[in-house]
Structures are given as structure tokens and as C-alpha cells.
């Protein structure tokens, strides 16, 4: 019931679903963001005209709106439970909640609440879209205040305060994104500055974080010390006390204002949420530091279907509530009656709550290094689940950051990894992990410039997680074949010779939401999905088509020779290999069929025909049938009877 925090965790990582929340975490793990966009003459001023195709065409306000529009759509996909609002300030008109347009006496003059803080609805997306794409502004919202007296920043801040207080109570993360080009809104007016500082302190005490996205114009530096240094707070304990830079967005250097703004805002898109905090990391007995853990990679999936009630004025989401019932008597069961038990030999065995606890007791949470190995000892397939990113925290151990940094540098330099025992949270199951470093983003050698530098906990599989594979002896190709394949591989490198996920949006996810958006906004449903994951076939053909043809010719040649030598070998084996009879010879018969088939008919097709006539096909094993069908390029799906029928049909038609 209303237990959203847990729900969210489950989204985070289904494996750890039954883990407890971190101690004393009574807030719901949701995020609320208000975009506060400065609407002033300079913000509305279009960029200087230019003939260049790449030149900026957006005013700062237009860029901000486009950015907000894009982020709103992204959040619907990736943070469906989180809220967003849009507040203009410095406008001629004022509006807050249900107050009528432009009527005087608003509590917050020159503040216009364009979209109230909430989980975005289709109408919000539509309104923003109209404003952005069509430039439709029927209410003339985007008109700067005309009088000499502009907006009071104290009012903007208190307005945001009220929106957060009422709409996003008890949220784990509440942030105010201010986009402005004015570094000195209250020049010379000390009272107004003080009032703003007081309201900023209120926001800080309320737990609201202000993120400033300054826009610098025509070479002017945005000077924080004029005003915003009094408004913005930084937690010195976060990130080991190393301050984060506030980056200005600007047009130029081949970047439009929009791309620059989007990249700055995107980096703050999701609130930085630790998956575990202040986890003790023991390097050796007596040598402990503390680290925070983050999930930087998380597989996004389309939301599940939901139930909708259509009998009202508007379609409405029906929220489900679960009651537990006894499967035998169907009477409702109280939560306190429910017990966990294990099925065993057709019955249940039960453990007392204390015993359940000891089952999960692994000596407390923590990360403990048990030794180091060369990085090369990590097999490429040793992968079972995504990795956690860890970063030092000074909260429990002063000096954690420098020790962490020294370890990071050493692991990079010596190409080593640490092996460690990890219990990430209370009630989490233990894992063995490899501790791996990633290089600094600025490092040219970095394979992940899209990810920060630091250490990763890479979960290692246990023996239980390994699957047996059928290690049939494989044949090695000739060196000539490698020579012919080489230019193909060398000429088809991905851009910048790296895998950059940003280039590959998930086509299924994007399509799902594109269609939903069209349905929700009653727009036309697009016909063709974009799919960046599809290979560029034309380019492949143009670049290496010739090499591929040569390669294939060589393969044909070698395969022919190989078939002959294999067939002879097999016959020899068939003659004197009685120890392991049936399976092998039959399988060989199948493959011979294929080999001969390729050469245009022969004895084994005759064998097959014989088998059909004598109706002995059904005596073959399913695997063998599939091998033969596969080799003939036929479907291998279905039950045995289907396979036999399909093969019979083929034989009748082709032999």
C-alpha cells in the first residue's frame, strides 16, 4: 500500500528485490525537477544572422524550451514516476496554480507557472511541444515584463519552495534548475539580494538543490560572485569534497547553444542516487576506507501494461491492490500470518524468522579485498550481471579519497585487478567481484569516455553460474583465409574506433514511446521506426564488398577439400569404431547428406530416400533430424513428427 519506495528499488535492480532499504531512509526515492527559465529581452533575442548551416537559430529561451521538451520526453521513458514542472520568470504575466491569467495581485508577480509540478501528462507534453515547435504562444506568455521593476528573485525562489512543498512532499530528491543569462539580477539592490539569499536558505533547509545553468553571451563571462554564490550551496562531504564545476552554456566552437545546454542539463538529468552509501571497503585488516556505490548502467525496458478504466469522463488508470488469500480455502490472509517456506519433496519446510535471518547473515555488509591478480586473468566470458561504480566518501573515514585514488592509479598502471568479497547492503547476497579501474574521461585511451573515472565492482560468476558447453573439436582455417578476412575487419571500424552507447538508442523502447506519445497526443502514428542498430549495409558493401567476395571464393575452395578429407576419415572411423555406435554414424550420415547435397546429389541422399521408403526416419534422434534439416537449409522448428514429415517431403521433392 502506497509503498512506493520499495517499488522503485525493485525497478532499480530486480535481483535485490528483497533487500531492505538503507537504514533510516523514510523518504520516497523519487525526483522532482522544476525548470525555472528566465524570460528576458536578452534571453529572447535571436542569435546573429548567419549563412552557415550549423549556425544557431534559437534564442536562449527557445533553446531552453527545446531542452525542457526533450528532457520531459526522456523522463517519461526513463523515470516514469518522477515529476517535472516549468516556471517562467521575468514575464509580464503572472500565474500560479488556478489564478486567472494576467490578473494582478498574484502572490508571485512576474512568475508564470507554465506546467505545474507533476508526473508529466500528455497535455503537458503537447503544450510544450506547441510552444517549441509551432511557436504557438496564444497567451503571450513569453513576453518580458515591461516595467522598470523586474522580477524579484526572492519571489521566484519562494514560488518554487511552495510548489515543492505541496506537490512533491517527502521526495528523496527535489531540484530547481535555473536557466538564465543574467548574472546580476539585483544590481546594487542590497535588500533584494538579501531577500533572495534568505529564500535560497529556505530552499536549502527544505532539502531542495539549486542547479544553475548559466548562459554566457558574446564572450561575457557569467560571474557567479555577483549574485549566485549567495544562492547556491554545496555539500563539502559529497564526492570527497572535490567541488563540481558550474559550466556555462554557450553558442560557438561548432556547438549550438541548444546542444551545449542539453549536454550540461543531461549530466544532471537523473539525481545522483547512491545504490549504497558509506560502505566500508577493507583493503587489509586495519586498513578500511568508505565508498559509495552507484548504478551507472541500467537496462531500460518499456513499462508494463496497466489497466485502464474507461467508464468515466476520461480514461483513468486503475490502481491494483493485492490481498492475499489462502489457496485452499480462499479466505483472506493477514500479513502477519504469512510465512516463508521452502518446497521440499512435495511439502513445505519452514524456518523461523530468526533462522531466516541467520540464512542471510554473512558477517555484515562491506567490500573486502582478498588479493590481486593481473587483469589478463579475467576471462572475457566471466560476466553475469552489470557492474557497480564506486567512489570514495569521506563521511566515515577521513582520507578515503586519497587511498582510493592511489589504488585506482596503481591498478591502472600495473594492469591489475583486485578480487573482493562484496555484501553491498543489509540482506544482500554475497558476491565475488573484480575491482576494475576506468580511465579518466579526458584520457585518449579511455574506452568509456561517456563514463567517469573510478573503480568498478564487476561481479564474477560462481561455478554455479557456468553452463557446460559442447566442446566439439573445431577446425582451424588456413592463414590465407585470415589474410583475406583481415582487410574486412580493419576497414569496418566503428566511428572513433569505440563503442559509444549514445549512438545507439534502443529501437524497441523508442518506438514504444513514440507510438504511445502519438496515441496520447492524438497525433498521426509514425510509419517507420528509426533503428540505429541496423548495420549500414550499403557502406559495408562499398567498403569491403570486394574483399568479401574474394574471401568467400577461398572458403568454397578450402571447404571442398575439407569435406573430402573428412568424409574419408569418417568412413574409416565408422568401420572400426564400434564402441560408440548408433549416434555417431547416423549423424555422419546426416552430414554426408549435406556435403553431397552441395555437390549435387549422391549416396547419402539415396540413403535418405531409402530411409523414407522403409519408414525408418522416425527412428532417428531429434538432434540428428535437426542437423540434417539445418544442413539442407530447412526449418528445424517443431516436434519430432513435424521434423520427420518435413524431411520426408524434402526427400520426395528433391531426390
Amino acid at each position: 500500500m502506497g509503498d512506493r519506495g520499495h517499488e522503485y528499488r525493485r525497478d532499480e535492480d530486480e535481483d535485490e528485490a528483497d533487500e531492505e532499504m538503507d537504514e533510516s531512509d523514510f523518504k520516497s526515492q523519487k525526483d522532482a525537477v522544476i525548470f525555472a527559465i528566465d524570460v528576458s529581452k536578452s534571453m529572447l533575442k535571436p542569435p546573429p544572422a548567419s549563412d552557415s548551416k550549423k549556425a544557431d537559430k534559437d534564442s536562449a529561451v527557445a533553446a531552453s524550451l527545446k531542452c525542457a521538451y526533450q528532457i520531459m520526453q526522456q523522463r517519461i521513458i526513463s523515470q516514469p514516476k518522477d515529476m517535472m514542472g516549468i516556471l517562467f520568470f521575468g514575464t509580464e504575466k503572472s500565474k500560479f496554480r488556478d489564478e486567472a491569467n494576467g490578473r494582478g495581485g498574484s502572490g508571485y508577480p512576474h512568475c508564470y507557472l507554465f506546467a505545474d509540478l507533476d508526473v508529466p501528462a500528455a497535455e503537458d507534453v503537447k503544450a510544450l511541444k506547441d510552444l517549441v515547435e509551432e511557436g504557438e504562444d496564444p497567451d503571450e506568455v513569453l513576453t518580458p515584463a515591461s516595467g522598470s521593476e523586474g522580477v524579484a528573485m526572492a519571489n521566484v525562489l519562494f514560488c518554487a519552495n511552495q510548489i515543492f512543498t505541496t506537490n512533491a512532499p517527502n521526495f528523496g530528491s527535489r531540484r530547481l534548475f535555473i536557466i538564465t543569462d543574467n548574472d546580476d539580477p539585483h544590481h546594487g539592490d542590497k535588500t533584494a539580494r538579501s531577500a533572495a539569499a534568505v529564500r535560497a536558505k529556505d530552499l536549502y533547509d527544505l532539502g531542495v538543490v539549486i542547479e544553475l545553468f548559466p548562459i554566457s553571451r558574446e564572450g561575457d563571462k557569467f560571474d557567479l560572485s555577483k549574485f549566485y554564490d549567495d544562492i547556491i550551496y554545496r555539500d563539502p562531504a559529497a564526492d570527497g569534497g572535490n567541488a563540481e564545476e558550474i559550466k556555462s552554456s554557450k553558442s560557438g566552437d561548432g556547438l549550438t547553444l541548444l546542444t551545449s545546454l542539453i549536454s550540461n542539463i543531461n549530466s544532471k538529468q537523473t539525481p545522483k542516487r547512491a545504490y549504497f552509501s558509506n560502505l566500508p571497503m577493507e583493503l587489509a585488516p586495519g586498513m578500511t576506507i568508505s565508498v559509495n556505490g552507484y548504478i551507472l548502467l541500467h537496462s531500460q525496458k518499456p513499462a508494463r501494461t496497466c489497466y485502464i478504466w474507461l467508464d468515466g469522463e476520461k480514461p483513468q488508470l486503475a490502481t491494483g491492490e493485492t490481498t492475499r488469500v489462502d489457496a485452499d480455502s480462499t479466505r483472506a490472509v493477514d500479513k502477519s500470518e504469512v510465512k516463508k517456506a521452502y518446497k521440499f519433496g512435495g511439502e513445505y519446510v519452514y524456518f523461523s524468522p530468526e533462522e531466516q535471518k541467520t540464512l542471510k547473515d554473512w558477517g555484515g555488509k562491506g567490500l573486502r579485498i582478498i588479493g590481486f591478480k593481473p587483469r589478463s586473468m579475467l576471462p572475457s566470458w566471466a560476466s553475469v550481471k552489470k557492474s557497480f561504480f564506486i567512489f570514495p566518501s569521506e563521511a566515515d573515514y577521513v582520507g578515503s579519497t586519497r587511498v582510493f585514488s592511489a589504488l585506482w592509479q596503481k591498478l591502472l598502471k600495473s594492469e591489475k585487478m583486485a578480487i573482493a568479497w562484496l555484501v553491498s547492503r543489509t540482506n544482500a547476497n554475497p558476491l565475488l567481484v573484480a575491482v576494475l579501474p576506468t580511465k579518466a574521461q579526458t584520457d585518449d585511451e579511455s574506452g568509456t569516455p561517456f563514463l567517469p573515472a573510478g573503480l568498478w565492482l564487476y561481479p564474477l560468476p560462481f561455478a554455479d553460474d557456468l553452463r557446460e558447453i559442447d566442446r566439439k573439436e573445431t577446425i582451424k582455417c588456413s592463414n590465407e583465409l585470415i589474410d583475406r578476412m583481415r582487410p574486412i575487419v580493419q576497414n569496418l571500424q566503428l566511428p572513433k574506433a569505440m563503442y559509444n552507447p549514445a549512438k545507439y538508442p534502443n529501437p524497441a523502447l523508442q518506438w514504444h514511446y513514440k507510438i504511445l506519445q502519438a496515441l496520447a497526443l492524438e497525433e498521426e502514428v509514425p510509419e517507420h521506426p528509426e533503428d540505429a542498430t541496423k548495420p549500414k549495409y550499403k557502406a559495408i558493401n562499398n567498403r569491403v564488398g570486394g574483399y568479401m567476395v574474394e574471401f568467400k571464393e577461398k572458403v568454397e575452395e578450402e571447404a571442398g577439400g575439407l569435406q573430402k578429407s573428412r568424409a574419408t576419415k569418417r568412413e574409416l572411423e565408422d568401420d572400426d569404431d564400434d564402441a560408440r555406435p548408433a549416434k555417431k554414424s547416423k549423424a555422419a550420415a546426416g552430414s554426408k547428406g549435406k556435403a553431397d547435397g552441395a555437390n549435387g546429389g549422391g549416396s547419402s541422399n539415396a540413403q535418405l530416400k531409402k530411409a523414407v521408403e522403409q519408414q525408418t526416419l522416425s527412428k532417428m534422434k531429434v538432434n540428428e533430424l535437426k542437423d540434417i534439416l539445418g544442413a539442407k537449409g530447412l526449418s528445424t522448428a517443431g516436434k519430432k513428427a513435424d521434423l520427420v514429415e518435413r524431411l520426408e517431403q524434402w526427400v520426395e521433392e528433391n531426390v
Binding site: W362, A406, Y499
Partner: protein, 725 residues
Amino acid sequence: MADKEATVYIVDLGSSMGECHNGRVESDLDWSMRYIWDKICTTVAASRKTWLVGVLGLRTDNTSNPLQENDGYENISVLQEIGPMTMTSLKELQGSIKASESMSGDAISAIIVATDMIGKAAPKRLKFKRRIILVTDAQGPIDSDDFDDISNQINDLGIELIIIGVDFDDPDYGFKEEDKPSIKANNEKLLQSLVDKCENGVFGTIAQAVEELEMPRVKPVKPYKTYDGPLTLGDPSLYESAISINVERYFKTKQARPVAASTVVVKSETDGGPSQSTQTLDDMDGIEATGGNFAAVKNARTYRVNDPDAPGGKKDVEFESLAKGYEYGRTAVHISESEYNITKLETVKDFSIIGFIPMDKYEPVINMGEACVIMARKFSEKDELTLSALIHTLYEVESYAVARFVAKDTKEPQLLLLMPSIEPDFECLYDVPLPFAEDVRTYQFPPLDKVITITGGVLTKHRLLPTDDLSQAMSDYVDAMDISTLGTDDEGNPAEYAAIDDTYSPIIHRVNQAIRFRAVHSDEPFEAPTGGVLMRYAQPSQDLIKKAKSEIDALIEAADVKKVPPKAKGKRAREANKPMSGLDVDALLGQNKRTKISADNAIPEFKQALNSSEDVKQIEEAAKQMGEVIRSIIASSTGDSGYDRALENLGVMRGELIALEEPGLYNSFLEDLKEKVRDEKLGGDRKLLWWKLGKSGLGLVTDRESDISTVTQTAAEEFQRLSKK
């Protein structure tokens, strides 16, 4: 399919088995049964109908076996006929495993009976894995006349004969019993000679068998094919140049999960009330001897929608009246049955290479999970050669391939990284999934090798950065703690320590151990072992720590890390109370002091009031006002609409008062609040709020949280109950 099994256990129940020997406090029988129970429980847990188990008692007081008409078959009893093993048969069996008064009974006769049982249940023509396991102390008489006949029979049926003895000598394992009775020494030799005559025989000592029980057994899973079809480079349907390789793809890793616990409830006997059945359950510590007392719990769902006219703002709706759809933000988008697939991307089965990347530009940390193995289709020379060429070329030019993968038509596309692997006689590609754009979260982190100041300056020497000494000490420590050759292989040569094959999932095997334990010991509490194989890698090896002691000490010294005392943590956070400019906002506030906490800005004003308070009186006053705000939020809440806000205020009030060491103020406020909730004095039924409050950990401040509080944990839990005074 092929793995049908028939196993007969022969348990020596002779009176000597009831005694304790060689300094043990456990009887020989109990000790031996550890091994047998473990084996049988594994069978029960698998619940396979084709795994048959029979149990024979040797040297029992009575005689009851199919061959008892003949001489020499006395004191042998069938304790369980050969058949599938269930929990119920396990319980029954437990009752009959007791040491007898008898000393006579021939182990060899028992083996003949067992062979006979297996021969009947699993006749030779059927494919079975047949096994006889005899556990004995070899103190009974043994007739060694027809060993050849017996072994012929055993071999003919393909039975594996395992004889394990209490304190049998085993030079391989390194055990020798001193002062062994001569009859036992003689019998051991006889039994050994019988085993030697069998094609498939094992002879061992129980100590080793029991010790090996600790070794986790990995459940084998058959290979699972995840794809069968072409891997292409280029599009064969459009370009003749395109390369197409027929491949098969199987799981290489797949996360194994512990046995899942089911949610159950005690069966209500007749239609007795729920309170009754709860009682029954609490009384019992394990499984009920009669069994079958639990019923599975099912979930029944009810659906509600918002309705401003309904009490509580919500009303129930019939499930039948609901349609399916998706959420787009907070908008419900209805999709009719016929259009159900409209949001699904249409795809066709596909496995095609997008391009290649150099190996050193890839970091394994970005892969998203389980690996698969890709091999060429069998018996197809062209495919084998082409794949081999791809593997060798990738290997040689140190590259990986990135490929688009659609397992079958309509499945979602995935991106995979293909990595070459070449071993003697075996080549393949391994693949792991790669993240999409949406899967990457861009969090900002400061650099680790430099410090950037607020003004943008770059420092390379700072307390957050390692000194040269620390870097050197770290380097020495890492090198000293190398475990790449710390382990030993089967031949005793140095080998990788904590290699993947040697590591077992602790949770899977602990749960299995616990279940097996519980099945046999319904009345003993389960205690998880703190050491053992499962915990072997929870700590670094003690030898290694000793060896690296000087490097560790040097590291500790150079690191100079200081633990922050728990108390100081809160204080440090308070220092952050200033904006970047360092402006003293409190001083600004001081000029026009806020005296009254307003409802719409309660949290900041409450915090600021506390911050500027000079004596307890002012704190009390602030707490009083905050309390009023909270009560009015609750009282004016429509349904549960104001609850989150109330909880937020409660949380702040609680946290701040704990930090100021005034938990009593919160506790007495809460006592008053509880009364008002109970008496419905806050605008009606507010039980849900009280429940949420407890669930959010906002109950009474206990003595664990604050030294000053006198409320115990138990008292605080009791306090949360609304019904009782």
C-alpha cells in the same frame, strides 16, 4: 530421459553402531547417517519420479526381506521399498533408523538383497544408473564364500558398489585406526576385496565422506540453445558480397538462483478463525510431523480509481470493466485488443555485425550481463571455416565485433559484443550484451588525479590526493597481495587462487544445506556455519596477510586514514550551512527574526528556529509550533492527500530533535498524536497515517538512536499498535 537412477542404501544398525568411538561424542550411527541423510535429501529435493531409492537395515532386531526364506539372510530388513522418495517417506524412514540390540547380520547378504531389489526395479534392459551404498562399522560376521558370483551379478547389472566404513583405514585419505579389533580389520579386507572385484566400486572411510558433504555440488544444467541461424556481415538479401555463417549460440553463463521460498499460510483446519491458525504456526518450530499443514498463498487483486465523490477519494471498479493500456507519463493510454501490438517494434530474426572495435578501447565494466558462446553449425565445413577465419582475424588484429541480435521474429533488438577465443582444438566467439543510449546514466564525478577548486584552479597536491609515499606504499601492497599463484592445482602445483571453478554461490548452497538440515532435524534450530567452503573467500588468506604484513603496515601509516566517530557525523553536515560565497544568511535572518513557524514554510523555519535557539525553552516552543503545523496538515487532509507532507514534517522534526538531543520532545508529541488518531480527533479515521508513520520508521525515538531516550525497542514497537492502550 537418460538419467534414471536406482539406489539402495544399506545402513548398518548393529548395536555397536550406537556407540561412540575414537573420541567422538556422536554415535557411529548418527555420524554415518549424516552422509546418508545428505544423499537421500538431495534426492528428495530434486523431486524426480525417476530417481528411485530403497533402504535396507543391516543387523536389525527383526528380519524382513524378500530372501529371508534362505539361510544367512537373518537380521536384514527392508526399511523402505525401492521407489521415489518423498518427504513423507523420509519422515517414516527417520523413525526406523535406530541402533538395534543385534550384533549379527551379514553385510554381504544385504548386498545380495540390494542387488535383487535393483534387479527387479531397474531391469537390465532399461537404462538406469544403479548404485548400492553400504555404510557399516564392519563389526558383524561376514561370509566370504561366493564373492565371485556376487561381483559378477553386480557387474552384470552395471551397479556401482560403494562401501563406506566407520573408521576404516584409508591410506589415500590418511587415516589409520589404532588398536582396531581383529574382526573389523579382517572384515575391512574382505569388503575391500569385494569392491576390487567390481568394475565400478568405491571403498572409503566415513570421515572423508562426511567431510566431502561440505563441498557444494553444482547442479548441472543441459546446454540451452539461444539462437540457431546465420551470423551475417552485410545483407545477403541485397548484396551478393555479404558473408553469412550458420551458427549456434548457447548460454555460457547464466545466473543460478537459490531455491525460492514460497509464501504460505497455515491451513485453517475447519473454518476456524484466522487467529486460531496463527497460533498453531507460532507454536511450531519447524515442519509439522503430520505434514501438509501449509497452504500456498495466492494473490487476489482489486482495482480502484479516483473518484472525488467517493469516501476517501477512491472507488472500487470491476476487473471486467477494465481495458488494457500503457502509461505515458500520468496519462493513461488505452490500446484496444486489436491494436495490442502497435507499440511493438516489428523485427525479423537477425544476427548481423555492425562493425569492429579495437580490444583496448573496450572496458568490460560496461557489459550488461550473461555471456553466450557462438559456434559454427555442426558438419558444415563452409560455416566452420568462415567462423574460424573471423575468430582468428579478430584475435590477430586485436579486435571485437559489435553485432545486432534479434533472437527471433518480433523480439527486441539487442547489441552484442563478440569476442574471439582460441584454445587448443576449440575455437569460438563469446558474446556479452552492450548497453543502449538509454541504459547509461551520466552522473558527474570529480577527477581522481587532481583537485579542481571552486575558482577553477587545478591542484595536484591536496589532502584528497595521494602523496608519493602513499602511492609507493599502495604499489608495494598491491604487489605483495598477489594471488595469481597462491592456490594449488590437483597435482599440488601453484595455481590461480579463487579461480571461478573453485568459487560457489554462498546463498544457493547455504539455503540448500539449511533445507536438508531442516528436513532431517525438524526440532533443532538451524545455525549457519561461519566458516567452511562457502565463506572461504570472505577473508584474505591468513598466510598471505602474514606475508604481506610489512607492506600493509606501511600502507596504513602512509594512508593516515581516520575513522570519524559516529557522533561527529551529524555535526559535520551542519557546517555546510553556508552558500558558496560563505555569506552568513543566519545573520541576515537575525535582523528580522521569524518568531512564528508558518504552515507553508514550516520545515525551513523550524530548522532556522532551532539553529538560532539559545535555550531549551526556545526548542520546546519550536517543537510545539511544528507539532501544531503537523496536526493541522493531518486534520485538513482529504483522504491521504496530505500524509506525505505530514510525514516529511514528522521526519524533519524527529531528526532535528534527535540531533539536538531532545528526543523526549518528539516522543511526547507522538504520544499525544497517537491519542488523537485513536480518538479520531484529526478529521476522521487517520489509521492509515499511523500505519505509514510506523512503516517509515518515524515512531518513538529509542535508546538505540539516542542515548538520552529511555524508550526501548520493544516498547517502541508496542507503542505502534493503535488498538491497545
